[in-house]
Amino acid sequence: MSKGLFKFPLYLIVHPFNGFWDLKYERSKKANLILSMLILFLLVITNVMSSQYSGFLVRLYNPAEMNSLMEVLYVVVPVLFWCVANWSLTTLMDGEGKFVEIFTSTCFALIPMILINFPWIWLSNVISLQETAFYSFSGNIAVCWSLYLLFVGNMTVHQFTPSKTIGTMLLSVAAMGFMAFLCMLFFSLIQQVVSFFSILYQEIVLR
């Protein structure tokens, strides 16, 4: 079992159609969820380590602006936004996917970003400026691969046609922007409300 647990994600990224089918219909939801969390965690670790340990030639970063907690947010928030946006849209568009399925398929689609970028944290330390082209090239490959997996995963989970999948994915991105805007609005309003009450409290206490 445990061997299959770790072999499956690797099988999925090279055989996405079969892999995502198995993910949705054949495998236990609980194991999938645990694996998804693990993948997210590994992605966070990869991002944090790559901003700290990547070679000087590929990453010039200001140590004053490096924040590991923010790196966690940079990974988790977009994934959650994507899942919520996608779920909200596909429920209206006759998608068959449940929220858990969308979440797991999204997480599994992110595996190439870990598999490719993680070794490059160390490799980037032993390359010259001319060879950094390989670094950015493989980074692009990771992104493309993940996008492709996301596409196949979405299609399988919702049982959509390819064109409809692309349409919903684009709409999801728009919805994500909309959600971000609403969140900002919400937080700024909450901030005002909180400051209102804190001032009220101060007025009463200091009187």
């Binding site: 000087f56 030639l57 010039l60 200001n62 004053a64 032993v126 010259s128 400026l129 001319q130």
Partner: protein, 488 residues
Amino acid sequence: MKIVRRATLCLLAALGCLAGLIGGGEIARAEPGSYHYSFWGDTVVAPAAYKATALLSGEGLGIGAFKEPDDLYVSADGLIYVLDSGNNRIVVLDSQFKPVRMIDSFVRDGQADTFANPQGIFVTERNDIIVADTGHQRVVHLDAEGKLVKIVEAPKSEMLNANFAFQPVRVAADRAQRIYVMSSGVFDGFMEFNADGEFTSFMGANKVQVDPADYFWKMLSTRKQRSQMIMFTPTEFTNLDIDDEGFIYATNGDRFGDTIKKLNAQGNDILRREGYFSPRGDIRFSPAVGPSRLIDIDVGDSDMYSVLDSNKGRIFTYNGDGHFMYEFGGLGNQLGEFNTPTAIERVGEDFLVLDKALGEITVFRTTEYGRTLNEAVRSYYRGDEDKAYEMYQKTINMNANLEFAYVGIGKALLRQGDYAEAMKYFKRGKDQKNYSKAFLLYRKEVLRERFPVIMTVAAVLAIGFLLARKFRIINRGKKVAANEQRAV
């Protein structure tokens, strides 16, 4: 934002002082006000490179108060020429700041002639004096004895408008006796006159800078409205200086873009901008105050140049690559601060800053830090890398924030063959290109050294892999045989 920055600066300055107290005399004290810009564009403290030591005024020199002096120039032999515009005279001081002579008139066609509100002065290598006699709309060329050589009057040329007004405000001359005149109201660049005083051409016009917002409104407005709006014209230059090789260094009053230019004979800008920021004075400023407005430039030896910012009264110095070296001065009432600074000039290592409204000249002398940094840049310019290495080491001991000094050290180490150490310094100086160069050499060195080990490990691994495969095949064969036996 500004308050926070100031608070951090104060805190850093306090820390710096504390460090100075603990570390003993070796560490140069950070003066409040002296700063540097880090690679990330943050303001960081720096030790003062120059300190004001003396204030010269006309009364102090015993020649009567200066009245709105506009320009000064230091000749190659160290004589200081102060253009006392309000009094229409030129005061010459020696390098000890003692008045040597005064020029307030010259003989023209047997008659005495004077200046009228002259605004620019230049002294050639042969100590010829060239004055932009603004009030008389002419340029006066005198020889070292003060005798008239020639007068350049308003030129007549097809290139000029009929209603062209010649108002020379700043002048410079090169070795071939060509005179470059900055005339106010001229947008086409500097006016170039040949040795005979004939107008030859314009050179180095600034490009038109268009504010996108202005452009938008202009697009919306009618032709009639447009005719009443300000035209988009190239900005005028604000000052010029000429270096030993005949390149003109010029400043202009733009709010953005390249405000410092080094012009070659064709009028192309060839200033090196290899520093962390393009040289333009302050890179951090509050929107209310605005960016530095550069009004004077002085070229020193080894391609170093300094510019004067009238907005904050600061003097910024850059090296030939465009790395920001140090800053000093400011507006205020203390010694070393000015009211309306109008001209800067170098006397050897020292700086003179002319204050127009107060009619005073402030003398700045280098500190230990300033001297070391100047010497480091000079040695590097000469190609004397060992000396540069030593000097840069000294400067970073006094100012660890001086990032380009690390690059200088790295380059010296690279030449010495200490690649690993060079990489460290290039990393500190945030120089990826040179880091890569050092790294390639280092990698080659390491691989060559470890070649036997690496090859042995690779061979062992290859053999082990082959053996493992063979073993597995044999095993599988056995299993198959066992299964067959069981079947039987």
